[in-house]
């Protein structure tokens, strides 16, 4: 039995500890955000945050996550009430097929939580592991930049900007 905390909620799970987190998220927890892209940690479609760090869930055994905080894109908002970063992606219409986007958002979220005002180079470098095949990169970049500016101009404390 493994206790896994996802988006603030603890789950008791009867799974093989070797199971990659991705399959637990998509299977046992029926979450859609993290996507299967390669199963090799090479594309970032499965990106989630673990203790605030962007991680490829397809190569992270669930047995290593006892007592750690997993956040998926579902933890940032819903399609009815999207999170701030997701809203920036909508404002920039930063998706084509959209398959990579939840992973992009999670990697960007991890950046902005630690560095609310990244430089252009910091954004590019941080996003380097995540692949997009439709060529939406420029819009994704703009969405991250937009979210960062929202954050900078907001009066609320940083922690509330990005739940």
């Amino acid at each position: 039995m493994i206790t896994l905390t996802v988006n603030g909620k603890a789950h008791q799970l009867e799974v093989d500890p070797e199971t990659p987190l991705l399959y637990v998220l998509r299977g046992e927890l029926a979450l859609n955000g993290a996507k299967f892209g390669c199963g090799l940690g090479q594309c970032g479609a499965c990106t989630v945050m673990i203790d605030g760090v962007a991680v490829n869930s397809c190569v992270t055994p669930v047995g290593t996550l006892q007592g750690r905080r997993v956040v998926t894109v579902e933890g940032l908002g819903t399609s009815g009430q999207v999170g701030r970063l997701a809203q920036a992606f909508i404002d920039e219409q930063a998706a084509q097929c959209g398959y990579c986007i939840a992973g992009m958002i999670m990697r960007a979220q991890a950046l902005l939580e630690h560095n609310p005002a990244p430089s252009d180079t910091e954004i590019r470098t941080h996003m380097e592991p995540n692949l997009c095949r439709c060529g939406t990169h420029v819009r994704i970049f703009r969405a991250i930049r937009r979210a960062s500016e929202t954050l900078r101009h907001a009066s609320t404390p940083q922690g509330e900007m990005f739940p």
């Binding site: 996507k35 299967f36 199963g39 399609s79 990579c100 954004i123 060529g135």
Partner: protein, 733 residues
């Protein structure tokens, strides 16, 4: 806007079974053979589906549902089609439901390919919606005893100038829309547009940015099982032996399926299927034979294969008239679609009926192929399109649909979901063919091209499903089907010869396509087909000719072009880029290219700047400025998004991509062996200027940028370094 109907089985079953609530619900008729019956030609796909309610239905509560046979592939087609319908019906796009390709519900519009969706489906829906509006207004006029010029359609009702209104639901009681389309309705005048030509946010994006169910990968049907296939290590490998007994006993495994060289496992949970797949793969012993050409000599192989000549332009081929004769050969490696999400499908065989949820580009042809594969009548097979990862042409989607169908038939009752691995997608998807082009031209004394001789050689660009033998799983079965013999796609759109004819005014031009029927590597349609390579070649060669003529590349193009729309996008791109004032910095260069996609669709010109790092020999696309005319622009932001994406994807193809193989196996099996463009390389800026043509026909957008981008990059590299690169992927010496 509306919830994604494609992932809402309840909405679809309502539509399928709830005929009483719908106006004159009827399954789409078989394609009417208007050509034979002498009926008038109707716009777009109305020609084939000539009943209004094949496209638009309104129930007695006034709920409006729009039907299209086209698929959302990430190009934003759902939103653009809703805009068109909303404009003509006088409603908001948010108020409409949309059903995309589904063999039980929608018109058969073939494949969603060739940048045809707005032309075919957008045009049909627009005319159907305009006629529906005028019928509703006519009925309201009779009921209210007022003349039609005192009525308008507004927010789901017909409203009279005295304030009386009748809801659409009340007006459709007399089966108003079960009538033949006439194609004669007056379309909304561009001066009164509310929705067309405006940015409308894509309807599918909110779910995609928030983890909502959005993709076929996200379907979770009650009792669904998970399957994985095990593919042979190479195209022609045969299974020598396997003991499946231990795998069948693994936790959660419900079945191990073997049929000839076809292997799969079906399990309760997904990771159980993954684990069993690995065990099955290890247990299999294969016999492999080298069947691929020597990779280092692939272009020699292609050049010497027997080919069928296909004439494109019948010029003389004589180049004696010119002062200056130029010749060049260009080559392009095999390249792959490489969708970020490997192919996936869900199927269920229940009560004699097979249902397949698929991200196919063509559910109707896929239904035929699957019916043949599993030996069911087509009427017993239903294929429903659900969004997938971007496909960019014929990738593994249809094959995964066939996998799901085979396994659902093997384990009748419960739904079966099949997810391909990255390695399977890369090794088995059909690639864009390797290509060779040879260009030869004569320049006259006034710096004009006087004669042109061009040939293009490639394997096929079309092996889509239709016949079951074009489905990969069919090759592996104990009683295999073999692929249909490849044929060249017909002109004017063409396959390998797409855009092979130069668009420029040249008095004597000969163009030939040398179609190679052999197919050692599996190939099919990759975004823009031969257009990418032909435009790359022609637009590179035009720059070489301009240089020989000591002419500015933009002026040189304009010198050979009369089409005012072509000239307009070229001038727009050049002006917005600042072409005339460009000052070259060290290790930088600028390049230009233009094409009209298929020589009959969207016009696109772009200027780019590249930055060359001579130490690492890397090229970065630093800046791109494009101008595009795709006729009437329905959603300008959607067009911009498509063109930006096309530019970046083409930059990735052009600078990085080549399918690697040895003489037996495909070796580009993951992202390290098939690298694509990453964030560190993205341009500082991509501008897209949409040259709108209100009231003009839709020309399509999706593929317009592929070819011009490649040539503009090559031209910019030549300007930066003095080196002309003619082999894709472009590699600095």
């Amino acid at each position: 806007m509306t919830a994604p109907d494609s992932l809402s089985p309840s909405r679809r079953s309502f539509l399928l079974g709830g005929g009483a609530l719908l106006v004159s619900f009827s399954l789409p008729p078989p394609p009417a053979m208007a050509e034979e019956t002498g009926e008038p030609k109707l716009p777009g796909s109305l020609q084939r589906y000539r009943q209004l309610d094949s496209w638009i239905r309104i129930d007695d509560r006034g709920v409006i549902t729009v039907f299209t046979g086209k698929c959302e592939l990430g190009q934003g087609i759902k939103t653009a089609l809703l805009q068109v319908a909303a404009e003509e019906l006088g409603v908001t796009p948010e108020s409409l439901h949309l059903i995309t390709a589904d063999t039980a519900l929608t018109p058969n519009e073939g494949y969603t390919a060739g940048s045809h969706s707005m032309q075919d489906s957008g045009t049909a829906i627009r005319h159907a919606a305009a006629q529906a509006r005028s019928l509703l207004i006519g009925t309201a006029a009779a009921r209210l005893s007022v003349s039609i010029d005192r009525l308008k359609a507004q927010d789901g009702a017909v409203v009279a100038d005295d304030g009386r209104r009748l809801g659409f639901g009340a007006l459709v009681k007399d089966k108003e829309l079960h009538v033949a389309a006439d194609g004669r309705s007056v379309l909304t005048d561009a001066a009164h547009y509310r929705v067309i030509g405006k940015r409308v946010d894509r309807v599918d994006i909110p779910a995609k940015v928030s983890g909502g169910p959005a993709f076929v990968h996200d379907l979770r049907l009650p009792g669904m099982l998970h399957a994985r296939v095990v593919r042979p290590p190479s195209y022609h490998a045969t299974l020598l032996r396997i003991d499946t007994t231990p795998i069948a006993k693994m936790p959660g495994v419900r079945a191990v399926h073997r049929d000839g060289n076809y292997l799969a496992v079906i399990a309760e949970r997904e990771y159980q299927a993954v684990t069993a797949m690995h065990a099955l793969g290890k247990a299999a012993a294969w016999n492999e034979t080298p069947s691929l050409p020597e990779p280092d000599r692939i272009f020699d192989w292609l050049a010497t294969q027997p080919a069928e000549p296909v004439p494109v332009l019948a010029g003389s081929g004589h180049l004696t008239g010119g002062l200056n004769i130029l010749e060049a050969t260009y080559r392009r490696a095999y390249q792959m679609h490489a969708s970020i999400g490997p192919s996936c499908a869900v199927a269920q065989f229940k009560n004699g009926q097979l249902t397949v949820w698929t991200h196919s580009q063509g559910v109707f042809p896929l239904r035929e192929a699957i019916a043949e594969l599993v030996q069911l009548p087509a009427a017993r097979v239903r294929c429903i399109q659900v969004d997938g990862s971007g496909c960019y042409g014929h990738n593994g989607a249809d094959d995964a649909g066939a996998d799901a169908a085979l396994l659902a038939m093997a384990l009748a009752g419960r739904p079966v979901r099949v997810q391909w691995t990255r390695e399977q997608e890369n090794a088995w998807e059909p690639y864009g063919s390797a290509m060779i082009t040879k260009a030869h031209a004569a320049l006259g004394p006034e710096g004009r091209i006087t004669a042109w001789d061009y040939s293009v050689r490639s394997c096929t660009h079309a092996t889509r499903a239709g016949p079951a033998g074009n489905l990969l799983p069919a090759w592996l079965l104990a009683r295999p089907s073999t692929p249909a013999r490849p044929r060249p796609l017909p002109l004017p759109e063409g396959g390998g010869h797409r855009n092979a004819a130069p668009i420029y005014s040249i008095p004597d031009a000969r163009v030939t396509y040398e179609f190679v029927p052999a197919m050692p590597l599996r190939v099919s349609a990759l975004r823009s087909l031969g257009g990418y390579m032909n435009i790359f070649s022609i637009e590179s060669f035009i720059d070489e000719l301009a240089q020989a003529a000591k002419a500015d590349p933009v002026d040189f193009r304009l010198r050979h072009l009369e089409d005012s729309r072509a000239r307009a996008v070229i001038k727009e791109a050049a002006d917005r880029f600042g072409w005339a004032d460009y000052r070259r910095q060290q290790d930088h260069g600028h390049g230009f290219a233009f094409a009209r996609y298929k020589n009959l669709a969207a016009y696109l010109a772009l200027a780019v700047e590249v930055e060359v790092d001579r130490t690492s020999r890397r090229v970065r696309l630093k800046r791109a400025v494009a101008a595009v005319d795709c006729g009437e622009a329905v959603n300008p932001d959607g067009i911009e998004n498509q063109i930006q994406g096309g530019i970046l994807q083409s930059a990735s193809w052009t600078l990085h991509e080549r399918v690697a193989f040895d003489n037996t196996r495909i070796t580009s099996r993951d992202w390290s062996s098939y690298p694509i463009l990453r964030f560190s390389e993205i341009p500082d800026e991509i501008q897209v200027h949409v040259v709108n043509q209100p009231g003009a026909p839709f020309l399509g957008t999706g593929e317009a940028a592929q070819g011009p981008t490649a040539a503009a990059i090559a031209n910019a590299i030549a300007a930066a370094t003095g080196t002309r690169l003619r082999d894709i992927p472009l590699t600095l010496p």
